[in-house]
């Protein structure tokens, strides 16, 4: 079954090299997951949209490379481009003439604000905020997994780490997120109780 899907996708990619309709089909298939991943890494909507646009422009540019050599996973190939584009976004924010890449990796300065999350009063917003507060590597694994829809094997390719390491990061990140989410819930409930008793 997975092989069938892979073959169908390979056929679609092959057509997308020259056929705009096939390219659009590919774009529609991946747009939301790419947008979700990028917007979780770049909070400014305008910047996120520019980066998504840049990613698909690079896809158009690099697609011909796949004419002779198909990657093990197209999704991993695509998200590698996306990850580089996000890195470039942060690098370009600071860089001019000298670019030490190791210091240019994105490190969002987001602090958890329980009050803000609680005021938002929406589960999704709270979860997004909790994810944004995760350490860099865990945040990447979580966003690639749940927003990008990638399998652990594909995440390992994108991040160039072992599959077991991906699984370890993921399980710890999930446990952390779950604990913090439950804490926020408990705080919110306590606030309500306090409010009602006044």
């Amino acid at each position: 079954m997975a092989d069938d899907v892979n073959h169908q996708e390979q056929a679609l990619i092959k057509r997308a090299l020259d056929d705009p309709a096939a390219f659009q089909q590919l774009y529609n298939r991946y747009f939301k997951s790419i947008y979700g991943y990028v917007a979780s890494r770049i909070s400014n909507q305008h910047d996120a949209e520019d980066t998504v646009s840049e990613i698909f422009l690079r896809v158009i540019r690099y697609l011909p490379q796949l004419r002779n050599q198909y990657p093990a996973s197209f999704a991993a190939w695509l998200f590698t481009i996306a990850r580089h584009a996000v890195t470039d976004h942060y690098r370009h924010k600071e860089a001019t003439e000298v670019i030490p890449l190791e210091t240019a990796l994105p490190d969002l300065d987001v602090k958890l604000d329980p009050d803000l999350a609680l005021i938002a009063g929406e589960d999704s917003a709270q979860v997004r905020q909790l994810i944004a507060c995760l350490p860099e590597r865990k945040r990447e694994v979580v966003t690639l997994k749940y927003y990008g829809g990638l399998r652990n094997q594909e995440i390992a390719v994108v991040l160039q780490i072992g599959e077991k390491t991906v699984a370890a990061y993921l399980s710890r990140a999930l446990a952390e997120l779950h604990d913090q989410y439950m804490n926020l819930k408990a705080q919110a409930e306590q606030k309500e109780v306090n409010h009602d008793s006044r």
Binding site: Y35, R61, Y146
Partner: protein, 380 residues
């Protein structure tokens, strides 16, 4: 009647509910953005697919003529190149060591697409590290604030295996062929028509045993931007970006220096009830790597060990990069010293003086455990 769920089933159900909640929290695009971008992309798609450069990326007669001219210029730039590399070695003792020994070699491959030129100047490879130096030249007469590459993919030609990038530095080159920008004040803005990039790839990530040379392919996608001020917004950045169509692809070979000293007998040291393991030490002419692992005292944190490496020539200064990763239950730190220590004989000593566990609430959320985990060894 529904049977009661076992504790395991209840946990699994809670986990998958929470995972569903995460998936539901995916940021949503504003209305019409997907459609608007699709239209823009399709226009770009049509334009790219009908472009003669895209269809025939091989060099045209005009390009061959241009290439011949550039090759002549290229010979001059190779000499300038050694001066710039020499300047760069101040920042990288490992590179300095191999440069002084005459290891590494000039490549001198040049490609031009539209008005951009990329010259792959120099390469070096040993069991730990592969270093490439290439020069990007923008349109004649244009001064850029940013002149670099979006792509720096390096792969083994035969297998297609990618070699991960470890570190990269780009510097502007002035009219006299001197590197500028390193240590320069943030203003005024430096502009240039030529930059040098020195990229380090992690060659330990691929199998190289038994090989005396590597046949590689490097892809570079240069771009140039001229910003008016340092903090110009990215939307301006994208609209100002100039880049030639198509990738610069270099097929080349690099000699693999087979000097690698390996110490791979795991040593353990225990303090504060924590057992730390020195897994291995790999010393090549340009780099030394040590792998240290331990069971993390609190697995929810990301742990880093603070190392002090001493050889018969004293403490190795400057530390090195560290790549923390998990290997099963072990928290591992792969330390990289960009130092020329291949001829450092005698006893070495590694002391880990602190373990630091970073929590999820930013830099101040740390658990620090001071101690002394000492390893003494001789690298054969």
């Amino acid at each position: 009647m529904t049977p009661d769920k076992s504790p395991v089933e209840t946990k699994m159900s809670a986990d998958s509910e929470f995972e569903a909640l995460i998936m539901k929290s995916v940021p949503q695009p504003r209305e019409n953005f997907q459609q608007a971008l699709a239209q823009q992309l399709l226009r770009e798609f049509e334009q790219q697919r009908t472009s003669p450069l895209r269809r025939h990326r091989k060099l045209s007669i005009r390009s061959v003529a241009l290439l011949a001219v550039i090759l002549l210029i290229g010979i001059g730039s190779v000499f300038a190149m050694s001066t710039i590399l020499q300047q760069f070695t101040r920042h990288d003792p490992g590179l300095k060591a191999i440069y002084e020994q005459g290891l590494g070699h000039e490549i001198g491959l040049i490609q031009a697409i539209e008005d951009f030129t990329v010259t792959l100047e120099w390469a070096y490879a040993d069991g730990n590290r592969l270093i490439l130096a290439y020069v990007i030249q923008g349109k004649q007469g244009t001064q850029y604030t940013n002149l670099a590459s979006d792509v720096y993919t390096l792969q083994v030609r035969e297998s297609g295996e990618q070699i991960p990038l470890y570190q990269g530095m780009t510097t502007a080159i002035d009219q006299n062929g001197e590197a500028i920008g390193w240590g320069a004040p943030p203003s005024p803005i430096i502009t240039t028509n030529r930059t040098l990039t020195i990229s380090t790839y992690d060659l330990s990530a691929i199998e190289t045993s038994g090989k005396s040379a590597l046949d590689l392919q490097l892809e570079v996608a240069p771009y140039g931007v001229t910003l008016q001020h340092r903090t110009q917004m990215p939307d301006d950045f994208f609209s100002l970006k100039e880049s030639p169509e198509g990738l610069f692809t270099f097929d080349f070979s690099v000699d693999l220096i087979d000097q690698l000293r390996v110490f791979d007998t795991p040593l353990t040291a225990t303090d504060k009830g924590i057992r730390v393991i020195l897994q291995h030490v790999h010393v090549s002419p340009s780099q030394t790597r040590l792998l240290v692992c331990f069971i993390p005292p609190d697995p929810s944190r990301q742990w880093t060990a603070i190392p002090h490496l001493t050889t018969s020539r004293g403490e190795v200064q400057g530390g090195g990069g560290v790549e923390p990763f998990m290997d099963g239950d072990l928290a591992c730190n792969d330390y990289t010293y960009q130092a020329g220590m291949y001829d450092y004989t005698g006893q070495w000593r590694l002391e880990v003086t602190e373990l630091i566990g970073f929590g999820s609430n930013g830099g101040n959320d740390q658990q620090r455990i001071a101690g002394s985990w000492v390893f003494e060894f001789v690298v054969p």
